[in-house]
Symmetry: C2
Subunit: 234 residues, 2 copies
């Protein structure tokens, strides 16, 4: 059969299966027919069914185990995907004009908390970069970043007055591991000044630690302006 006449694509199957879950026809924990039977039902091959079910499982709607079969996830939507765009893209997507400003960039000995956090040897040196990201000249994000010099020697020559440290790093060093956290922190006097909020105000914060083959590369703390929400639709 040619596909144009009667496309039974994996997307159609996904839609149909999702529909049955959402309508309640297939409740949580329901065991659904095996791939072969579904292939007959949708009059396509098992491969196509497999792809549909695999993706639905990846998205958290189904749980699959060999021999045990496929069943509707009882705790659906356990995984949420957040898109974390570059600040510039995020600002521009909201229709704002993006502006970057370097606050300071200094080489220094890693403070104790940082050395402990990144498992640095005492006395290891880092470049500490602080900068601001503005949307239409209102504060959008304050970025506080430390870059381990031993892992990225070129950083001592980098000029962060023109390019943000994030973009510079992305272009310069590869990485193998990332840890990303979201938390709520409170604005100290400095932060309050940069973000134009009252001292003590809650500030949505993202922390990102990056490694290259086990070597810590950078820790970034990103403080967002008041009212910021990280939102996603599922």
């Amino acid at each position: 059969m040619t596909q144009s006449t009667e496309t039974t694509s994996y997307k159609d199957i996904k839609q149909t299966v999702l529909g049955r879950i959402r309508s309640g026809e297939w409740r949580p924990d329901t065991l659904l027919p095996n791939e072969e039977d579904l292939a007959v039902e949708f009059s396509c091959t098992r491969t196509t069914v497999n792809r549909a079910l695999r993706e639905l499982a990846e998205e958290g709607f189904l749980e699959r185990r060999r021999k045990a079969g496929t069943r509707v996830s009882s705790a659906p939507q356990r995984q949420a995907r957040f898109t974390i765009p570059l600040v510039r893209d995020e600002v521009e997507a909201m229709g704002g004009t993006y502006r970057y400003a370097l606050v300071s960039a200094l080489a220094e000995t890693a403070p104790e908390w940082l050395a402990a956090r990144l498992a640095l040897t005492p006395g290891q040196r880092v470049v500490h970069v602080r900068c601001m990201h503005y949307s239409d000249n209102t504060p959008f994000q304050f970025e506080d970043r430390w870059i381990v010099i031993d892992s990225v020697p070129q950083v001592e020559q980098a000029d962060f007055s023109a390019i943000g440290p994030n973009e510079w790093l992305v272009q310069t060093v590869p990485f193998t591991n990332v840890e990303l956290s979201f938390l709520a922190s409170r604005a100290d006097a400095t932060l309050a000044g940069f973000l134009d909020v009252t001292e003590g105000e809650p500030v949505f914060t993202a922390e990102r630690i990056t490694w290259l083959q086990g070597q810590p590369v950078t820790l970034a703390k990103m403080y967002f302006a008041a009212g910021y929400r990280m939102t996603t639709r599922l």
Copy 2:
């Protein structure tokens, strides 16, 4: 060729390609060979290469466009996946003992802000449930939830003293759409009491709105105890 002797699986290809990206051999924006050539290089079929590249693209490492080819993403890791377990699972995963406590459950007319937020008609009624989740009897999360009665009529008969509203809803109503936000809010007097923090302290907050075929079902605000971090590794 039998697979057992020389498995060139899509996972191997993913690893190899990832390695080349991470090592810097394929820098951001590099155009990589087309699927057919890669299939030759890895001595497997294009299907297998396709799956590897497709998944890497889904994970944000590659960008693919028909005819234009596949290139290394210039802004890598644009997508992060967070696992959002049920509170009970999260507490138990940390080795704590989970305890649930109902604070209040009342049917009422939707307050104006809620009606606006969920696009309710004025005067529509909701059940307002407030409850606490404890880990080893220390506050873990305060949950403030509104359930639209017109969308879930059974809610008026539900007994939330034994089962949490989240688990009850998951078992009872399907849903079609979810919006999830993370933000930082400040503890008011009530919240401070429940979470055992000082008034005005920053509180990491998750908000979840659920719809069923365009009908708003529930809005939940989940306030986490001091120091909470939502973390993921990539």
